[in-house]
Amino acid sequence: MTAMIELANAEKTFTMHLQGGVELPVVRGVSFHVIAGECVVLSGPSGAGKSSILKMIFGNYRCDSGRIGIRHHGKVIDLAIAEPRQVLSIRRSTIGYVSQFLRAVPRVATIDVVAEPLIVNGAAREEARERAGKLLRRLNIPERLWTLPPSTFSGGEQQRVNIARGFISDLPILLLDEPTASLDAANRAVVVELIAEKKTKGVAMVAIVHDDEIRHLIADRIVDVTSFAAAA
């Protein structure tokens, strides 16, 4: 099977210049791969570096050494040394990221927040909105809220909008940072279904979930991050 993501000895250290140059090693020797249609769950205690690894795979945190190979348009690109333009291209058509919190754009209606990733990739506005509506309905966001900006919604509603935005596109790689953290049982079940559907479409996923039951339901493999802990 084709590896969609392949990390080899990836390493990250923060240097805190405002605290007298303190070095804060985060992870070291991170090596694992994810194939198409597979969901790998990162496990380990809080602070072990799970979110940092996810952010490195998205190009949000820089990778100090090692390699982060991403299959993009049929070629493998090393994200650790990629140009900003390549990273942007990868984010547009290869990697989606569902963060814990919605970074709301002021004034934009919920339905458009969700539809945006499709429009950016060339879909017609009406078709994109229709798909956005379907996902919002599945995630139990009442239709009367769709025209409002999500900034006034509750935490759980915002997270569901964020999930809809993350799952709407047909990107081959999805990174999920606690996608079910503030959801009730019914909505958690919807997310589990959405993940299963992505698997059948061959999407490679890396997820962080603290809930044991959800982890059991979605994980094809578990990668224990504590082995990558970079002891100071």
């Binding site: 805190m16 405002l18 949000n60 945190y61 291209s89 547009r92 002021p106 950016v120 990739n121």
Partner: protein, 265 residues
């Protein structure tokens, strides 16, 4: 679709090489090199005196560099040194292919003439002469920047600060430029007005597939508008990269200081 194709374009639109500017013995800008691609938004951040406004003036050919050069890909696809352009080509850039949004709208608008004339003037400068078409296009643009078309005959001196800034944007975009320079476009506006303007600019830039160079001291503006960021200090570019990468994982001491100085929302 236009955004996608323009962002995947492999030929840079503007290239700066070893740019420097000295005021007497004082270096205001030192050894700046980068390439800007079509559809790409670059933010230049740094505090007052860091050289970011000088750099913007060098890039937009309003100031001659002491060393280095700026090249721009003209519509015929040829990359040309700005210093070697003829007068007609420079005029074409300033009137059509480039926009320049000033922090103070009074610098970019004619405050005494009507809003419609402010927008129409750029069209007339590129040869439009049908009054009805000019007025229709001006109305369309006022609407796009959320100005009540009923105010088309009023002069911008009767407008609020936020409306003036939106009118300045309409005036700049009406000729469908490929590159827009912005100097602190939200400076001096109320926070609520800023949010509306930022949202509007973000949508216009992505719908039109514009390239833009935005000078700002406000990192929130950089985060919302730009793909890439250059951090300046003492006339030098000290850090550069993807905007979210530089802001979430700043490497240089000065960038860490800037980022840590933001008040949480």
């Amino acid at each position: 679709m236009s955004e996608l194709s323009s962002l995947d374009n492999d030929q840079p639109l503007l290239v700066a090489e070893g740019l420097a500017k000295n005021y007497g013995r004082l270096p205001a800008c030192r050894d700046v090199s980068f390439a800007l691609y079509p559809g790409e938004v670059l933010a230049i951040v740094g505090e007052s005196g860091s050289g970011k406004s000088t750099l913007l003036q060098l890039l937009s050919a309003q100031l001659a560099p002491s060393a280095g050069r700026v090249s721009y890909r003209m519509r015929d696809g040829v990359l040309r040194d700005l210093a070697e352009l003829g007068e007609a080509e420079r005029r074409f850039l300033f009137r059509t292919d480039w926009g320049f949004v000033h922090q103070d709208p009074a610098q970019g608008l004619r405050m005494g003439v009507s809003a419609g004339a402010n927008v129409g003037e750029r069209l007339m400068a590129v040869g439009w002469n049908h009054y009805g078409r000019i007025r229709d296009t001006a109305s369309t643009w006022l609407d796009r920047v959320e100005i009540d078309v009923g105010r088309i005959d009023d002069a911008p001196k009767t407008y609020s600060g936020g409306m003036r800034q939106r009118l300045q944007i309409a005036r700049n975009l009406v000729t469908e430029p490929r590159l827009v320079f912005m100097d602190e476009p939200t400076g001096g506006l109320d926070v609520s007005v800023q949010a509306r303007l930022l949202d509007l600019m973000r949508n216009l830039v992505s719908e039109l597939g514009l390239a833009a160079i935005v000078v700002t001291h406000d990192l929130a503006v950089a985060r919302l508008l730009s793909h890439r960021v250059m951090v300046m200090k003492g006339g030098r570019v000290i850090e550069t990269g993807l905007t979210d990468q530089v802001l979430d994982d700043p490497r240089e001491p000065y960038t860490q200081l800037l980022v840590s100085s933001i008040l949480p929302p």
